[in-house]
């Protein structure tokens, strides 16, 4: 089943997030990730949603979202050229010196930042695609076992010049 992306403009009001989440849980739609934040207009927030479903389900989701009074606009990002990135923090702990060197090498190869550093732990800060984050997490958790992962879900915006 395909992952499909939607961008929503919603009223920046109490309860809007709960209502959108409630729609997905109430109608058993598969919500893979959801991020939300204020836009250039403080009364409007923008959500980036990743939903999983077939064509029919996806059409229904868009229509149901459009019905909501608090949803101002639904943008289907399918087939559009996007910039899409996800924030990921990985804290790797209980590291020996040799492990630390390896982690630093990984950071260099994968072009992610070392945001914090301690006696036996390193914090990686990554801003890249979801897939790249997935790969990095897999790589690190394969060899290291005291790992803490916090990820935020992707944020997307249509590109200007790319086709």
């Amino acid at each position: 089943m395909e992952m499909r992306w939607l961008s929503l403009y919603v009223e920046n009001e109490v309860g809007v997030l709960a209502k959108i989440a409630g729609l997905f849980s109430g109608k058993c739609y598969n919500l893979h990730s959801l991020t939300v934040g204020e836009t250039e207009d403080v009364t409007i927030s923008r959500m980036t949603l990743c939903v999983e479903g077939d064509d029919n389900t996806f059409e229904q989701i868009k229509k149901q979202l459009n019905c909501m009074v608090e949803v101002i606009k639904v943008i289907d990002l399918s087939g559009k050229s996007l910039h899409k990135k996800e924030v990921l923090y990985i804290k790797v702990k209980s590291l020996k010196d040799s492990d630390k060197a390896e982690i630093m090498r990984i950071a260099q190869v994968y072009d992610v930042k070392i945001a914090d550093y301690g006696k036996d732990s390193i914090l990686l800060e990554c801003l890249q695609t979801e897939n790249q984050n997935n790969n990095l997490i897999n790589l690190i958790t394969k060899s290291y076992h005291n790992v803490e992962v916090v990820r935020g879900g992707s944020v997307a915006i249509e590109s200007i010049s790319m086709k």
Partner: protein, 575 residues
Amino acid sequence: MSIKGTEAFVKVLKNEGVDIVFGYPGGNAIDIFDALYDEKDIDVVLPRHEQGLIHAADGYARSTGKTGVCLVTSGPGATNLVTGISTANYDSVPLVCFTGQVPTKLIGNDAFQEVDIVGITRTICKHCVTVRKREDLVRIIREAFYIARTGKPGPVLIDLPKDIMVEEYDKDDFTSQISIRGYKPNETVHEGQIKRAMEILEKAKKPVFLIGGGVKISGAKKELTELAHITQVPVITTVMGRGAIDTDDEMYVGNIGLHGSFASNRAIQRCDVLFSIGTRFNDRITGKVEEFAKNATIIHIDIEAASISRNISVDVPIVADAKLAIKEMLKRAKECDTKLWREEIKTWDEEHPMHIDKPKGMSPEKIIDIISDRYQGGIIVTDVGQHQMWTAQYLKMTKDTQLVMSGGLGTMGFGLPAAIGAKIGNRDRQVICISGDGGAQMNIQELATAMSQETPFIFCIFNNSYLGMVRQMQTVYFDKRYSCTCLRYRKSCDRNCMDAGKKCPPYSPDFVKLAESYGAKGIRVWNEDEIEKAFDEADKNTESPTIIEFIIDPENLVLPMGQGSKPLDNMIMDC
């Protein structure tokens, strides 16, 4: 000039043309009730349970076309509205429900009678919001009425904290144009799509119109009738759409669905063009979805985009109000050659006519026939169950006869309060409520409201001592294992009794005595000869409600009976 929230509230209501509010007071709503005390132009109806309150507002709204207004207190007052809000939501009824709320500073503190009603009703209403600032109050209430009655109508809930309602403000705007950026109901119809649809219809050999509740809500009976006559296309209705064309009209076939007529269901399955207006194709009418109208080109007109291509894929989708769409269709309507097709449908009807062949005891069909003959032009309100299905099957509807029932949610206990609400909104019309004995007791306390509001009406209870519809399913699918459906059951009975025999304990309550205890009239009818006389007596009683208890044999089943997992026209005809 500074005015309190309560005064602003009353002013908006009057501007919206509200003259009846269904209200039940309490601590967090008492200020609003105080403001209404002096209002001669707004009548506040006090029921005996908030659920009765909202069903009454619902019946009022459905039968008058106006927006029903509810006013209850916080906590339990608000939670008692939940079933009624969902009932209205499923049947697209415009309601504005005001719930009292604890003062803003106490919200979230688990205060006395505090409940997050907006959180609870989020998924069952069109819109819900708590007013958090006094300056937003008037805008929110005005928007609530606008949202409730436009587009696909529905219930809206506004939560009013006590402190906001007594706070003063001097810049209330009662008149500016309402504009909600996230809500722009469709007010046009796509001419190109209508043209395309009519071209398909013109070439059809076996077309049908499938008409749902949306046509009635839109008030398009006249236009639909004209369309059917010009095109000569047979009309089939859903239970919610019954009455959208006169049932004795030569183009009318019958009801589609689980308990629809065989001819209607077969016509749907064999048609080549299914032109549907104002229905959402829910599971009660599709039968096995993969087999539904397999050979037909499907055209679907509905006011809500989300209802189109939801359960059934549609070839020509048109988002529009029914009346607007039908008017556009009339510009292009031409006669179709349907004579042979209509004759074929007639043979199916003759093969399996809608009729209770072998009733046990008094025939429910006979009672409904008599009601049909006596009360054309009246408002018939039903509860939920076998009696509801018999009414949908047999009630004749001509002129401005109305049929009100909870179709989408199927709420037992809806009938009695909705009938009271309908009578309050239509005091010069006959109102007949048809209910089962189970549903009758769910809001029986509203008989006191009827007495208090001086609303005479006829309350027909089809008493078969069982939860009939569930018993029917237990008869057909569960080997007559009547688990928890006998309403005469007493602890000393045989737990596995399969038969309402003569050894049964008496029914509790005695509905005739119950009626009298409320100051109403009670009549019990045992056989068909007594029916007309009972209605004669009821008609004479213009002072109070009349309960007519019809003793029905529980062995009577609603037939034919479809099965959701089988194709629509694969029905159980006999049992």
